[in-house]
Subunit: 371 residues, 2 copies
């Protein structure tokens, strides 16, 4: 980003600090090297439109205490879903792609990578697709329902009724996101930009969706509605939201045009034959990175291979029901070392190209764009 | 947005529902009309660069309980500030503008308006300025420190130690944001797009900054650092963050090039003569809308006129110290009915033009862009 006059002279030193903090998990301040790492593309991005809006949400009446005490009680909106979008000039006829982030993260997952490269959001736009990036209900710009927390504070609800707020430690991210078996020790072929691992750490936000959201998760319905409003879209989920495209498609089987499940987390795989029959009407792509046997360090989710196996089983059932379902395992194509955060890996655009090719072949051929 | 094939046939009916819900504050579902209201500009937006990054943040060591219990204890990053940016093609030499949102809101404030028009973020880019939109530390994609909440849940910290999570009710927003004296009764000359008031309601997120953040607010330091990294910027705050540009400038008087305070909230005005002397070295613009005498419905902050008067006093002190400080009161120029959410008002671009003109005259003349 030298065009903006950022000094880059201190970059190596800052990198060294960031790397040390990342590897050792020290409690020192985190170096803010990110802005000097931002890369400017060679060609401008030409957008027909960009902006943001909300999908879903309903009114709730709350007391003054539940609203935090400053103003009087009344109504607020809860369970709405924030969506940011970019429509490429000349690409408005192509199928939109909706990218949903995983646990303890926000839509930031799909934006600029931790080491300053272009995110999948912009890359898919440059390839001709309108792109929509939500924050899941309960996180980021979608907010959450704060009433219970304020009631506990006031003593009118028991503390034990609070849901947990989940975050992953920097240390457990290394094996769980499969950068390496241990913190600070990347796999020799790791594709994750581990020198910038502290920038990934900054992407973390508290996640209330493990017990603190209505059931079913309001994001399912919001995604179905978003796809319907777009007159069809490819729904892409990642990790905790890996199965969300399936759930949205079950709510409205005509809304989405294709489902992409990137590294879906613990997979229920408990879909009935009837549900599988419904899902088999849509093209489904599952994407997994490498080193899936790595022990995650999280006892309830010992390895990602289990999720992979569950997805293989689902793919088999979808195919048996006449569906177009397939696994994209870059390692089988000789592309090794991809991590759980595959959209941020050093070869992220190589993987994106494989997904774009699948969309072309199974959902709809792009016109225009920078193919 | 008809180019994307959105159906607009149901728009009037959806609008009617949204308006009714807005006026009456009913507990019914909120109609999702927003996506059909999105307006596509006549000309494409050409960006040299866009993306996001973080500023600030430090490591904290937390227990398994504090991290929500799923994984083991370890380090996370807290107090980082998310920033999204757009740099216009040909505008990379112009002064960047940083836009900070107010209480119970996020950077969304500056994006697409509730009724689907272009936000100030894109408008300032189209006028040639690189634009940076943060989420304040503690909100949106910047996250917050969840440790205390999990400790209270586990019974190891008292419930009374929790900070409040603030949100404003839809009802109190009407007088407090000065759409009208009472809910559902807009001022005859109101500039706020009140038919879309439910879309503003969806922008609300719980706000922990009234007691739940470190002191001083980490956003002050992050803004100073951002301005420094940008080699100078116009820092613009709104409402609760209206004074943040002043606080950032006091932390690093050489970082910012100009300060714009849009409808700053309750104003301490307790700056020492020494601080005023420092601030007087920077051009300062204060912007206020109309109907400032309206009783807010919030007892601790009875009217916005008090904030206006405090700002007038500060302007006087800055001028006495040799500074270039001024009040932009559109009503004095015959532009009536502007609300507290002036960047979302129907004449938002007219007000933006006045600010752009001030930047040209007091901070730096733009080159390029679509002046």
């Amino acid at each position: 980003m030298e065009d903006q006059g950022f000094s880059t002279s201190c970059r190596p030193a800052l990198f060294a600090v960031a790397t040390l903090a990342g590897v050792l998990g020290t409690a020192q301040g985190v170096a803010a090297q990110a802005i000097t790492d931002l890369q400017t593309p060679d060609t401008p991005l030409v957008l027909k439109a960009q902006g943001s809006f909300f999908v879903g949400g309903e009114k709730a009446e709350q007391t003054q205490v539940e609203l935090g005490g400053l103003g009087p009680g009344g109504h607020i909106t809860v369970n709405q879903m924030y969506v940011r979008y970019m429509v490429p000039q000349g690409g408005e006829g192509n199928v939109p792609v909706v990218m949903v982030h995983g646990a303890t993260l926000t839509g930031k997952s799909w934006e600029t990578t931790p080491d300053g490269r272009m995110g999948w959001d912009e890359y898919f736009v440059r390839k001709g697709h309108p792109v929509y990036v939500p924050d899941q209900v309960g996180r980021g710009r979608s907010g959450f329902n704060q009433a219970l927390f304020n009631n506990v504070r006031a003593g009118t609800a028991p503390a034990a009724s609070l849901p947990p707020w989940l975050r992953f430690s920097d240390e457990v991210v290394w094996p769980n996101f499969r950068f390496g078996a241990k913190p600070g020790a990347p796999f020799p072929d790791s594709q994750f930009p581990v020198t910038a691992v502290d920038e990934l750490s900054k992407q973390g936000v508290p996640d209330v969706s493990f017990g603190g959201l209505p059931t079913p998760n309001p994001t399912f319905k919001a995604l179905a509605e978003l796809a319907r409003r777009l007159n069809g879209a490819v729904l892409m989920g990642h990790s905790q939201s890996g199965r969300f495209p399936l759930e949205a498609a079950l709510l409205d089987p005509t809304a989405a045009k294709g489902l992409v499940l990137v590294e879906p987390g613990v997979f229920p795989g408990r879909y009935t034959d009837e549900q599988v029959k419904t899902l088999a009407k849509l093209p489904v792509l599952v994407v997994f990175g490498d080193h899936r046997d790595t022990p995650t360090g999280i006892s309830s989710r010992p390895s990602w291979q289990l999720s992979f196996d569950g997805c293989q089983e689902l793919i088999g059932r979808l195919k048996a029901a006449g569906g177009q379902a397939q696994m994209l395992d870059p390692a089988q194509r000789g592309i090794r070392g991809n991590s759980h955060m595959i959209m941020q890996d050093k070869n992220s655009l190589q993987v994106a190209d494989l997904i774009l090719q699948w969309i072309d072949e199974h959902v709809g051929k792009r016109t225009g764009g920078n193919k």
